[in-house]
């Protein structure tokens, strides 16, 4: 199981509720004054934002909107240049001040470090660009398929151990548009409670029936499945046509690895199909980067559809589905993304292909293998040190995604500001992306981080944790099961001067 817990202690829960209550009351007071001054009129139209959305956006989100959407200059590699913006000024948009700061990047999904230019990949990408241009302005089905697309699909299929692969220009659409094609009327889809929004969108768009099972819980799934088998389809009580179980390899907001063996056992017993979303795990998990199947020792043959994205480990954009030949043929004839959407841009296709060749070692070097082992070492080192410092870190060992629980909204923005001031870019997430009480900070480790980078970050984490009071020693200590090697002495060293904002050249 994971190394942390989502459940807040009583203290955290009370404080978090207090924060929300205060924000809410002050929001109401301000709205009261505003309404006295006269409400904006829409001349016969309903307001475009609903009451609560409107209230939330104006009175809560805009207070801390500077911690999101932070613009970046240059590639999102291990260190990146953050563009400074004007401080929050009511609800006015934030403007760039013209200054930048070099920050350590712990926010991007750059697991294998392919975000910046690469001596192997970049020349090949440029080659493809000069040969096929940057867009074919056509769907794959009409006139958007280049030889590079086909090459990638072939090599990816053999890498994943599946018969065929179909790519799509966007990872989100790979779930949201491909899932409805499989889940037609009479299909029962079981979706994990914490599945990504793209999956939720996909199953909502589908004509089949959706049931949600508890997060990562095959036992609950089995109960629901047996119940559904007895009842049959709603109203008609006809037997279901097919059952699809949709799970993710690594849950991006929890960092947890799926209990794949458990789900495969249930799927086999009840003849259900499995759709596995490997967005965060492909290229990041497993000894040779083949994802959670390899990591957990499950045969890819037991998974009916392997889905993944190229915007994380591969440093490009887009997504893929890998399955048996007949399934892919069906997608090619029936999937709207294949029929109507612009084909994936050839340079990105080449980027994925080159990155894939590095990972498999087809380029003739061991750079890919090195990146993979570096990522794992970095991830486990960082996690063990964080746990030692008393953070409540979610997720599993080997997973490069490390959410750190903060619980309280006010601390969320304080932590983010403090981190940015000291030169570390981390992601903070709160409501509505998470439930009210479980605001968190998220760290994504990359193979391109050096040990010095990580130690630098850890020092700052230690300092900020004290300042913002985000440690949770009892929660963390109960989960200390493994200690990574600690080369350098933990905290206590004096902090070096943080990078300063410098004017943009």
């Amino acid at each position: 199981m994971g190394t942390g817990t989502l459940a807040p202690t009583l203290k955290h829960a009370l404080l978090a509720y207090a924060t929300w209550t205060i924000l809410y009351i002050f929001g109401l007071l301000r709205d009261f004054v505003r309404n006295r001054r006269g409400k904006a009129s829409f001349k016969g139209y309903a307001p475009i934002r609903q009451d609560f959305e409107d209230f939330f956006t104006r009175r809560i989100y805009y207070r801390i909107h500077d911690v999101f959407n932070c613009p970046v200059k240059g590639p999102p590699s291990a260190w990146m240049d953050i563009i400074e913006r004007t401080p929050v000024n009511r609800q006015k948009p934030l403007m760039a001040t013209g200054k930048i700061k070099r920050c350590l990047n712990l926010g991007s999904y750059n697991y294998l470090g392919f975000a910046s230019s690469d001596p192997y990949c970049t020349p090949r990408v440029l080659d493809t660009l000069s040969q096929h241009g940057w867009s074919l302005c056509s769907s794959r089905a009409d006139a958007g398929t280049t030889p590079v697309h086909e090459e990638l699909e072939r090599e990816l299929a053999s890498f994943l151990g599946k018969q065929a692969v179909l790519t799509c220009g966007m990872g989100f659409a790979t779930n949201s548009v491909f899932l409805p094609v499989l889940a037609g009327p009479g299909t029962l889809v079981f979706s994990d409670a914490l599945n990504h929004v793209s999956i939720v969108t996909g199953v909502r768009a589908a004509k089949g029936t959706v049931r949600v099972f508890d997060h990562n819980d095959p036992v609950h799934l089995e109960q629901l499945l047996r119940q559904a088998m007895l009842e049959g389809q709603p109203r008609t009580h006809r037997p279901w046509k097919k059952v699809i179980i949709v799970v993710e390899g690594i849950y991006s907001m929890e960092g947890e690895v799926v209990d794949l063996a458990g789900f495969v056992a249930v799927a086999k017993k009840y003849k259900a199909y499995i759709w596995l979303d490997e967005a965060h795990s492909i290229g990041a998990m497993g000894a040779t980067g083949r994802g959670v199947c390899e990591h957990l020792g499950v045969s890819p043959a037991d998974i009916d559809v392997l889905m993944g994205t190229f915007s994380k480990s591969f440093g490009a954009c887009g997504g893929y589905v890998a399955a048996n030949k007949d399934v892919i043929d069906y997608f090619m004839a029936q999937c709207p993304a294949h029929l109507h959407a612009t084909a994936m841009t050839p340079p990105a296709v080449q980027m994925v292909l080159s990155a894939l060749r590095l990972i498999t070692g087809a380029d003739g070097s061991d750079r890919g293998a090195h990146k993979l082992s570096q990522l794992r070492t970095n991830a486990n080192y960082f996690r063990s040190r964080l746990l030692h410092m008393g953070f409540n870190v979610l997720g599993d060992w080997d997973s490069p995604v490390m959410p750190i629980m903060i619980f309280q909204l006010a601390k969320l923005s304080a932590t983010s500001h403090e981190m940015l001031r000291l030169g570390v870019a981390v992601v903070v997430v709160g409501f509505p992306a998470t439930p009210l009480l479980t605001s968190r900070m998220r760290v994504c480790i990359s193979a391109s981080h050096t040990r010095q980078d990580l130690d630098y970050a850890l020092q700052l984490f230690d300092y900020v944790a004290t300042k913002c009071d985000i440690r949770d020693p009892p929660l963390a200590a109960s989960n200390l099961v493994f200690l990574g090697p600690a080369d350098s002495p933990p905290a206590g060293q004096p902090l070096g001067p943080p990078n300063e904002w410098v004017p943009l050249a």
Partner: protein, 509 residues
Amino acid sequence: MASHMVPAVGEFLPRDALAWVEEIISTAWTTFKPGGRLHPQTFIESKGHLVVEAILLALISYLLFQGRQKPQRRKERPLSKEEVDELCEEWQPEPLVGKLTAAQAARPPHVITAVSGCSVEVDGKPTTSFASTDFLGFSNLEQGRQVCEEAIHKYGVGACGPRGFYGTMDVHLELEAEIARFMGAEEAILYSYDIATISSIIPAFANAKDLIVCDEAVNYSIQTGCSLSRARLLTFKHNDLADLQRVLEKVAAEDKRSRKPLNRRFIVVEGIYASLGDMAPLKELMALKEKFKYRLIVDESLSLGVLGQHGRGAADHFGIPPTAVEIVGASLGTALACIGGFCSGNREMVDHQRLSGLGYCFSASSPPYTAKVTLETFRALREEGPRLRERLAANAAAFRALAAGVPGLRVVGGEAAAASPVVHLQLDPAPETYEEGDLLLERVVAHVLKHHSILLATAKYSSVETRRPPPSIRRVRLRPVLVTALHEPRHLQAATTALTEAMAALRPR
């Protein structure tokens, strides 16, 4: 009195039996005689009537309830674990995917080995393409290539994160500002893929309480957006303003009766319809929209850069000021020759999507080089747009006129659609079945490619699309021919000649 009559009756009976009967009768008499314990009068006086009434009441209620008694359902025993196991064991799922139709199976996957304007190489063979939406030929801009190269050196390929989490590059902001300037809107928001653009915009603004009125011929993305929003969905006949007015009036009448709080209302149309190639009559639509207080969502994917004085699309074409249409969504994969999509509107509208547009919040942002190259194509559009648009319109009109002469095919749209470069040809007379027409057109396309080196594309639809109403439109098959500004008269002539020849060769007699 009665007692001395008894011996007369009992002459022939044994003595003790007679005494016994006499006993009974006398007892009965003493009980029932007037003044006796059970004489009706005494009985009633001593509240005995209550007993009678109680009996009657019980009888009446028995009779009353008798009629309502349902046949009692036999309580079923819940299935035991073994029985459930057996049921699960018995169940056989359908295969994960269905079967392909003959036409779908007949579609060969073309590989485009080289592109240069409208001449492409299909599987290594030089061909004239009528299948690309690069209407103005911007996918071959020399500067574009340079800019792209520089951007790849500088930014790498991917953005490695959603816009919210360090996936916002300076180029994305530049591009958003440029789009807003070009569209004459306050702000614009960038999506990383065209098919997820409108389908994210609509659910960001509409939920189960709201109302969407859309044209029945809208594309997949709009259909999905409407169904994801769970809003009440009404459709009107394609481009039929009278029908739209009927729908709007019906809603207005309902409103008067129900007095519900005002909800958000939208009319959704496309600038150029992807599945028909004609244009929405925006001018008249604007009047209706203003009258009934609806917000207008226009998908300008195919019309952006192609129509209008400034190239802003169909609204521009009809001389509608840019801020009059509340929400404009469009693809960047058509005339702007890149990938992605955007939405432009006022600040509140756009800002709301930065929190609620699912395809924006939860997807990796578009690669920085694509943003950079789109900036370049926007520049080209400003500079060369007017000249190219003129040529494009002439080409479109010329092709429509030529195609009208092809026997067995009919051009969809007529006079009103003359400026649209998306030309759909429809089998005329309509085939018996959809499948038959589909297969015939697949063959025609393959024939034209093989013998005339001209690449056309059939209109392909997925079974997940809900075209409304399906039966009437589904009878005929449509085919888009995408005319671009790069085509020369000889290309257009060649295409129609090829089509005529193919139709003659393949059409069933």
